[in-house]
Symmetry: D3
Subunit: 223 residues, 6 copies
């Protein structure tokens, strides 16, 4: 029942890099407003913006053993996505695992549970998105699986899906969709660029987006 899948398909690195530059909100829009993890997932420090292929981890409550197993499966640029099978805020992840993952060139970590040693991880600039900050230790008694489909913070994540994460949260892009989503995201950014210039110059969204007629049609009255 408990397996470590060692070979997963990864997305095109150029696509992943492109998605990182787009950021969460744009990518989320570009794929039809799907794939967003719950807003209780927060970065431990502000300013990180990454995209990376997911190495998924499912493990029991209050037991972080499988994270050690997952480290071996990481290729440079990967990000572990850790989902306990029972909710817990305990601190499954801390500095030593961060050092280890940094040595393996992981892009960061997503965990629907607690994280500790946040000062040290911040100094390392190893970005973590977690549900809680909590020093409570965990055990190493029961196994789980690596690289099977998991549900993390309300979103289905398959191994090799692209995780996009920044200060706004975390968005999951299916591997097979990644190139298409990037294309749409870039188109969106290009369009926003023109809009941004007009808005920055003081034009109103009402005019830029041509909303006045439709608002009047809905019955909006100016008094």
């Amino acid at each position: 029942m408990n397996v470590v899948v060692q070979k997963i398909e990864r997305p095109d690195p150029a696509v992943v890099r492109g998605l990182a530059e787009c950021g969460v909100a744009t990518v989320h829009e570009a794929q039809g407003r799907t794939g967003l993890m719950a807003s209780w997932m927060r970065p431990i420090y502000a300013g990180a913006r990454i995209a990376a292929p997911a190495v998924t981890v499912t493990l029991p409550a209050c037991d972080n053993w499988m994270i050690h197993v997952a480290v071996e499966q990481l290729q440079p640029g990967d990000i572990p996505v850790v989902a306990p099978t029972s909710p817990s805020d305990a601190g499954y992840f801390g500095e030593l695992l961060g050092v280890s993952m940094r040595a393996r060139k992981a892009a960061g970590l997503v965990i629907e549970a607690g994280c500790r040693d946040v000062r040290e991880l911040t100094e390392l600039r190893f970005p973590v998105w977690s549900k809680a900050i909590c020093a409570q230790g965990t055990v190493k008694e029961t196994i789980g699986s690596v690289n099977v489909p998991v549900v993390c913070a309300g979103v289905l994540v398959n191994p090799g899906d692209v995780i996009v994460a920044d200060d706004d949260g975390i968005c999951v892009v299916a591997r097979a969709e990644a190139a298409k989503v990037l294309e749409k995201a870039l188109a969106r950014l290009a369009a926003e660029d023109a809009t941004r210039k007009r808005l920055a110059a003081g034009e109103l969204g009402l005019d830029v987006y041509d909303m006045r007629g439709r608002l009047a049609g809905k019955g909006l009255k100016y008094v």
Copy 2:
């Protein structure tokens, strides 16, 4: 039913500037401990301290159309106060609206819902106080109203009321009371100044505030 009130009374700009310098805690005390929004409203970055006349916005859940309508009603120094009629953490507000409001010289934004693009808004130094950070997009399907009374985070806000906001939260001062509240706030600050010096010199609050007799009267025993 849905209206945009175009003319609202605004408070004296000198009073507004004065209230900004006093900060939320002092203003809240100066008006008898009323007007404080719920503590789930948090700034997206630390260090902003503003006061501004409210342009109120009421809108449906998950629909940010009326924010675009509100931008046109902003005068320099105003702050939109956005209250959805149904609770939602979706990201009604992001960078483009921030750029547009910045171009209109808005002082910031208060929204009892989600905000996104917080990295970009932080770089713009456009302060937002919100209930959540969430990239989830919203629609533009249903209208609401601008500059009608709204309840935001538990407090009644009338258009033209003064919004005072800083790292402690948000306090609402009725327009008609603003000058009087500023006067009391300044008196409070002056009194605190003297107290602060004595405390900083090591005197005890027990003596500065002359509390020992009353404590003994309540039955406090030193053992």
Copy 3:
């Protein structure tokens, strides 16, 4: 019933300094994963790491009078631990009390309630761990006690216990255990140092901790 205990036993200052350097997660582990306050207690700014003997304060809901009483009982390096008898997010503590405690050389404050004036306290570099940030004022009507056992954020704190606090939260070490816990914490740090070097060099935790056999024994399959 309501007392101020004026004489408490304090731990050895060298031990306290040692625990500060170890940090919350290590100390929590060193004492068998006990003593951790609930994760809703958060620092008002990032980066502080302290250890200090507790001066405990129990007080009624929405009434901060006893904090003033407690200031007189502080010796340099102490930290007040404030536990209301009924839950409240109100702002029991602000700048003036911070100035007063700073003048008394307190190490910071732990309060299972709200804190206000966080900008000023941050500028003072006076660290506070609290359950909420909230400007709501409190009264001075009802007395409580100082230096009696209290339960704060789920943990029993006796006066003179060592409070260790940093970005990960707060851990309480019983005074009588402090030297022994420090010893174990230092041993742990020393062991971690060696481990950290091996992990930083790219070795896997699976090998460093010799986990492969036990994982296989539990039935983990690599596919």
Copy 4:
């Protein structure tokens, strides 16, 4: 500043009785989906459905003195709406106040705080909608006001407004709008009656509401 307004306008009792029969969801719809209190307000027992003119009470945190003051202002069929100025879950209301209000023929109680003695109140069939059930006692030290506008669970309530409450929550109807809202609510119920019969007979909402064309127009595909 603190007043008891003794004379308030009350709505037509026949209208109030009518609204009680319509229930919260229907009344909320009939007035354009406004006036609904936050969903954290829950009845202490299932099955009560009432409507009543509001006698509003604003009072300090953890202090229930003004509820005693409000009892004198109750006329038969009224309901006190109690809003503390600072959030608290303490038990402001219990059996004795329930007995007193029952003797004054109050319709029940709405309180954005805690309630206690719920077994006794349930036996009395005195319905209470509250934010929490909590035995924590309160004090009688500081005054507030009766029959001034208050914000309760996010909604502005004026004295004499109609409170409609049942297992779904609480809806506030402005006194001046009550007759018109009742009319719309009854029309809605009549229309629902016909719809209910068709649905109960197995017809589909898709046909009863004639939705198929509009769904196809939005691009819905059946596969």
Copy 5:
């Protein structure tokens, strides 16, 4: 992108009936402690215990249009599982939809959002498991999909999976696993039966489960 899948595989009705009799806790154990929805999903009344094939519904925030679409896809004994793409407590579901589903012989409803008309639904004995009780209305503006995979309360649900629900919550069993899970659940119940008799007769779990040796081995001391 938005589709209604009209043909789904359903599990063997005898297996579904069997799972209903086992209840949530037993089924959850029998399938290796997976498939449990988050504990914020609660029944609107106590005592219902059902199992049913899932008809999945994904829809936008605050928009219940697709529930009407889903009704047509229900076969007797099915249960709709409704997952909005953005979190909301609004009341997507009420009496009329309940009457319609009852007429179609649905087994109940699971919705990660709000439910209203709970008194009427309770009288109908139409069981609903929801995240909130809230009268707030929703719109019918935007389409979603029926019978595609959804994530509901943290669990992946495919159309035709078995939903087991009772007072303990909701457990999802993959269609292909259902017969095997039932077999294990029945074995578990049989074993529990023997254990229950011994425990009811006053024997200790320590002896029934033969725990004393292992506890001693872990170092447990009796003093």
Copy 6:
């Protein structure tokens, strides 16, 4: 470190019975408003009212092994008070343990974690006060202690303390104080009896408690 203390002092059974009849709110008041557990602890069904000596249990997160150990320590009328060292909503307790405790004549259970099989426990009339209802299973891997001091839902509980629990929550009475608290509680009930009669007859609390002068003195104005 992990022990089972087999001999504890228990309070006088007559005192325990007396406290059960007084109920939580009265007992909490009688002992100076202390000892109340947090209001997130709720009964799994309404109407139970008990008092019982505590057999305390501390155990690791998601591990219920020590509950089995505790059963052996129960004497008729006792109540286990279970406090995990790390927060968790998992279902540590279910029907079989309930049957076993019922056979040992336990009065019920208090657990700051999850409970499952609530339908069966309700049918057994075995009352449980818990933080959550959740079917998630736990393991039996790590030991804890029985009959050592624990902190449960924010309150220190020593073995042999009296637990009073009903629909209002849970109150802890120190064993040594129990007789004195009962005496005060009975006096309070007697006084309330007279007051209840006057209030039920329509007298106002303002007069019964003689509040009018003090209110006027605080500045309350009737308008």
